[in-house]
Amino acid sequence: MLEKINHSSGLFSLALVAFALAMPLVMGSTATAGVVLVFAIAAAACNLLLGYAGLLSFAQGSFFGVGSYAVGMVLKAAPGAGLAALLVCVAAGMIVALAIGMLSIRQRGIYFVMITLAMAQLAYFAALSFPQLTGGENGLLDIPRPITGLEGIMGEGTVQYALIAVVFVLAIAFLRLVVRSPFGRALDAVRENEVRAQTAGYDVQKLKLLAFCLSGGITALAGALYALQLRSAPLSNIDLMTSETILIMAILGGRRSLLGAAFGALAMTLMAEQLSHLWPRWQMIVGFVLIAVVLFAPNGLGGAWAHWRARRSVRAGDHA
């Protein structure tokens, strides 16, 4: 079933739409359903780096936060900008990703990881140090929502959710196109064996940098949608915890599965919703889950399921 969905673009889009339609029922409100879809976009963009380009980036929260701030600044300055504000956010995210990527991608392995973390911290302290732009500790408050033209037909919460859902379907479908394009195949080659890809004539640095920028732009888009959902851009959107949350969602869902990212975001949001009521120290459980997934199910929930299915069908074949 999973393979079928992965192979057919029609089924894949259908699955995305079904996920977006089912979320309000699963979560009980369009507001929390919107949060799931927003983080699904961010986690899928993280997967582009983690699962396809082979880059573990701790800067995803910076892109997310930059998107939040950008949409806030644009819409507060020009409330009539409408959905064009989202395009500004994508551009802002790509520019920040270009800057961070240019410093970090020159180095490999752990140095790359450490530099993305340090640069993410730079972005955080920059947001904190310039309160006239970002609102400092309070964040940007009272961000107006853009006018979409659907206001008369549906309630405000529904319009907001519809906007998030449409962007969700488009963004993940776009990421699927990217990973299946020749560019995506080249990323596969880089991840599997960087030296070989280089010898084959690929400009490895440029490929990685492009993937980094695409991921940054889409993550910023998710951040912008989140700010519209909250009507504010809190400082916490750009902090290290946001990077870690996005990474954990991507890992939970499976680093090579874009649809899995949506389920990773769902699992994490459900945990945050349910466990935080029961136990204030619920993040300890997240720690245990993360360790267990990396140790025992490195391909995430989707991967574990596919693995179990494959083993079962092999066993069934033996008996026949």
């Binding site: 752990i110 302290f125 993360l290 990396v294």
Partner: protein, 285 residues
Amino acid sequence: MNIYLFQALNGLGVGMVYFLLSVGLSIIFGLLGFVNFAHGALFLIGAYTAMFVTAQTGSFLLGLAASFAVVAVIGVVAERWLLRRTYRMPHESQILITVGLTFILTEGVVMIFGPEAQQVPMPDILAGVLMLGAYPVPIYRVFIFAVCAVVGLGLWFLFERTLFGARVRAGNESSEMLNLLGIKVSRVYALTFALGTGLAGLAGGLAAPLRGADPSMGAEAIVIAFVVVVLGGIGSFSGPLVGGLIIGVTQSMMSAIWPEGARLAIFIVMAGILLVMPKGLFGRA
């Protein structure tokens, strides 16, 4: 004396704490090729241990000793039960697993000590100031500098002049060969892990009276340690020392020039150095 020069001298104390923190990370990576993201959480535990033991016994020195010992024990337990399984995994998996460990350790500390920031009093004998010309130098900074210098020299001696150090360096080159020579590699690993993590604990204990103890200091520490290591290189002694001092002095000087941006400045310095020297200060393959 110039105020900036004075601030720079002041920053040497903090810089030495950063050195202690990062050299632990560096030692573990050097021998085991293992990236310990939980190093910051261990720094945090060190700070709380020093606070707790000092409050219970009334002896700050005992608190410092406990911060090293307790964290070293936690490090060894984690190595035996969890981290040893990950040595053959890619660095990315090691980082993610130790991120998970960071969550567990940090939440554990909050569970025991609560989420509020707490003051850690320094012993009276270290609380005063020395007058250096017209400028007061806190005795505690001098104390930190001295402790870290002694520990640093001790580490240098341990790794360059003793049999244990020779084994660690040999394991660095080829752990298989070390094994074939009849040396229990897993014991060398465990001891190195204890030492490296213990240093993070000691750094936390030393830093506690300077900045108090609060649950966010672990995340702060791991980022600082990474910055130091990115600048100075990993697996050596001089790298963390130079990197740590640069960061400490920058932070201290900037807090006189632009207090709001002092923490921003260390990352800008790092980005600037990386822009000019993509491989860090000492270059590496």
